[in-house]
Structure formats: structure tokens, C-alpha cells
Amino acid sequence: MSRLARSAGNRGSTPREAKRAMTYEVLLNTVGWPLAKIVVLLAAVLTVVAYIGWFERRLLGLFQSRLGPNRVGPLGLLQPVADGLKLFLKEDIVPLNARPFLFKLAPVFAFFPAFLGFAVVSWALPWATPSGRHHGFVVADVDLGILLVLAVSSLGIFGIILGGWSSGSKYPLMGSLRSASQMLAYEIPLTLSVIAVILLGGSFRLSDIVAAQQKLGAYFILPGLLAFGVYLISAVAETNRVPFDLPEGESEIIGFHTEYSGMRFGFFFVAEYANMVLISVIAASLFLGGYDLPGVDDAALYAAHPNLASALGVFAFAAKSALFAYFYVWIRATFPRYRYDQLLRIGWVVLLPIALANVALVALLKLWLLR
């Protein structure tokens, strides 16, 4: 490390040293910074995911005239730690009927896609360092950001299907069947509603979509109100939450993870909350302007105080995402659960035509009004 630092300091003294400095520079840009970003992002996301569980339970408690978890630590803030510890210490049971390899693989399949999607989310305007470099608040600012999220999140279903099937039990099997048909039914409206936003924004890249909203002067929730509604409903269905929590359906079929215990169950659990966070974050940046500060001219602020704008942007983004998380909990506190056939009917007969028509509508809107 010290040698590297020295070589960077005496830049260009000898050709060999210069080459080494360049290698160092390249390594830093291709491996170092992305890795650091990934670590920071993963830590942040994991913390948020852990506390979204606490948030949900507390909020549900408040909705239901009770207090929610408040025993572990102040305000119950250490509850996620206790839960995690409990899951880790529990016995890991593989049923006799199960297919051991797939049974063990399935939670991993559920776990990783849920976190992969965060890589393309643009959290704020780039952070400026004193040396004049700009670091984007994004791990991979690729062309097809939102498309990548959709593609990767569609993989999460394999964890559920394989987990349910490989348990070798009827209840999880039914859970995984429900889950599979539900995901298929709601993935299309979800994608179509996102496509409407992509049409409005003119790019797959999330930062471009936010920039387009800033340019338009209005968040896409206004021109894409229908898309927003479709997105909201199908996102609830995609994350298996009330009123579309049939794959779990804890009073009916207990769920695809009936046979799981310990940390393997924990993986599913964390994946579900990670998906919830991801879908809130995506919704915030697609429809509510992401890190745009409402009522503030972001560009001017960024020109004056770039880092202040960035920091405020992260907070605005978090607040907007929390709005969605609150909404999900609110819904969970209020509604009963749909039935399997009703759920599929809503997906295919109601949401899909609306989403299709909406794409056409938004295209016309784009052609005539927002040129």
C-alpha cells in the first residue's frame, strides 16, 4: 500500500514508475471505487432491509392500536439484531422428502437477485471531491438500468419455485405454484407501466429519467398516473404482499417456505424485504422524481453547492421511498387477501389491458404534448 502511495506521489519520475501509477489509477477506477461503492451500498441496503422489518412491525402495531416490538433496545431498535441472531442460532432442518441440493440452493436464488437490482439505482447527483473528481451515487450507471432491474428481479421467482418444489411437501408446492402464476401475471403489467415511464423519460437509465422529470418540471406521477396505479398494484403483487400475499397465505397454505427453518428461512425473509425496498426505491425514482428536491432548482443548487445538493438528494430520495414503504404497510394493515383465481383475473383481465392502453396513451401524449 505504502509503495503504491509513494509511486502515485512521484508520478512520472521514471517510465516504470509512471506505468505503475497508471496501473494503479486504472485499478482504482475499475476495481477499487466500484468495489468500495458496492460494499457501502450493500451495507446500507442490508441495514435498511433489516430496519424495514422493524419499521413495518412498529407501524403495523400503531395502526392496530398496539405498540409493536419495543422490548429489545430503545424503541425496540435492536429487534432486527435479535431476530437475526435467533435465525442464525436456530437448527437448520432439511426434510427427509426434500431434494437437498435444490432445497439448499433455493434461498440463495431468492436472495441474490433481490440485491442485484440496487446496483443500477442512482441515489443522488454525483459527489464532488476536492480534487475535482465526481463520483456518481450509483454502482453501475449502465444504459439499461431499469431493464436490468426487471430482468434480475424476474430471477427471484426461481428461489420460490425451487424452494417450494424441493421441499417435497404439498403446501409449499402449492405456494410455489401460486407464486409462479402470480409473478407471470403481474410481471407484464409491471413492465408495461415501466415502459410508459421509459417513453416519457426517453431512457432506461434511472438518472436520465430523473433528469427528464426535472426538465419537465413535473414528476411523472402526473402524466403517468395510470401507469403509477398499475405499477403500485403489480409491485405489491410482485413482492408478495397483502392483499396479494397468496404464495405465503399464512392462514391457508402457510407458504412456499413452510419447510424452511433457521437462516435459510431468513434468506427468504430478507429477500422479501429487499424486494420491497427495491420496488419502493424504483417507484420513487420513476414516479416521484428520485433525488430531485421538490420546490428547489436542483441544477442551480448543484452548481453552487454540489455536495450539499447530493446529500439533500439522498435524503429526499429516502423520504420518497419511505412514503412507498409506508403505503405498503398501510395497505397491509387494512385489506384482506385476494383469492387465487381473483388475483389472476385482476392481473390478466384488468391490469394488462389498462397497462397496454396506457402505453399507447403515453406514446400519444409524448408525441403531441411533450415534444
Partner: protein
């Protein structure tokens, strides 16, 4: 990069063999899934991110789910015990071998150039169109820098619009036929 390619190719080939050789249908399906993902990564290496995303989204996320459901709900233990269609194995082997040899031959004989087919067609048609084709090419080169989805959309909606639409008609017909068949059985 070449090393990565060899690794991926070996992985995909292994997955493909797993699909064919495995006795348990669920293992076949899972190896097919792994193969799809491998191909997706291959596309990523070729800088065809859009195609990679589409591959994962459509094949891995959509079609494989249907396969898996289909396989899951058959009695796979009984299926494993029945020897299926063994009389077809040898003819199929020779057929595939012939196809493989033919494809290898074609690949070996063909020369790879950086020029896209449009230009070659234009050159063949005459110097008159060459200029317009060249401007198209220059435009494409500009696009290549710009973005991946745009390239795909230009290819689909400008260069190959008719094949694209024909394919969509074909798919619609297939869907209708599927619905028809399914309805009849119920």
C-alpha cells in the same frame, strides 16, 4: 477476455449436455436455466447488454418458469423410471452430428468482416446506393457510441422491420393455436 469466453462456453456446453443427458426432468430444467444465464453473460461480454437483459427477462424469467411449472407438476419419479424414446437415440445422434459438421464447415469457410451486411448488399447493388449506405453506416457508427437499446431498436424497427413484424404475426398465430388446443381439451 478469451479465457472468460472459454470458461463460459465450457459452462454453457456442460449445461446443454446436462439438459440432454439428465434423467430427472427437474435437473434438465435447472441446467437449462443455468445455460440461459450463461448465454446472457456471453451477450454481456459482447457488449450487447440489451440482448443480455432480454435473454434473462424473457427466457430465464418467463419461459423457464413455465417449463419448471410444467415439469414440477408431472410425476417426475415415474417419468424418471420410464425409458423414453430410446429407439430414436441413434438416428438423432447421427442427425445432430451431421448438422454439427455442416455448421462447422460453414463457419470455417465463411470470412468475418467488420462490415455489416447492409453495406455488402449495397455494394452488390451498385455504386449508386453505396453512398447512401455509407451514410447509414456512419450514422450507425455514431449510434454505436450512443446507446445499446437504440442500436437494437434501429435494427428492429428500421433495418429489419418486415421480418420483425412477420415474426410477431407468427407468434400471434401460435398463441391463438395454443389457446385453441387448450380449450379443446378442457
Amino acid at each position: 477476455m478469451a479465457f472468460l469466453w472459454i470458461l463460459l462456453a465450457a459452462f454453457i456446453a456442460a449445461c446443454a449436455l446436462g439438459v440432454v443427458l439428465s434423467r430427472s426432468p427437474i435437473t434438465s430444467a435447472v441446467s437449462l436455466l443455468a445455460g440461459f444465464l450463461g448465454v446472457g453473460i456471453l451477450y454481456l461480454c459482447l457488449r450487447a447488454e440489451f440482448v443480455a437483459a432480454a435473454q434473462v427477462l424473457v427466457y430465464a424469467g418467463g419461459i423457464m418458469v413455465l417449463y419448471l411449472i410444467g415439469v414440477m407438476f408431472t410425476d417426475s419419479e415415474a417419468l424418471r423410471l420410464t425409458r423414453q424414446a430410446h429407439f430414436q437415440a441413434w438416428p438423432a445422434f447421427f442427425l445432430v452430428l451431421a448438422l454439427f459438421l455442416w455448421m462447422g464447415h460453414r463457419l470455417y469457410r465463411s470470412e468475418f468482416t467488420a462490415e455489416p451486411p447492409v453495406l455488402r448488399v449495397a455494394v452488390a447493388a451498385g455504386a449508386d446506393q453505396e453512398a447512401s449506405a455509407k451514410t447509414a453506416l456512419a450514422e450507425r457508427a455514431g449510434l454505436a457510441k450512443e446507446s445499446n437499446p437504440r442500436q437494437v431498436s434501429v435494427a428492429l424497427f428500421r433495418d429489419f422491420l418486415y421480418p420483425f413484424e412477420a415474426a410477431s404475426v407468427l407468434l400471434t398465430v401460435a398463441v391463438l393455436g395454443g389457446v385453441f388446443l387448450a380449450k379443446k381439451e378442457v
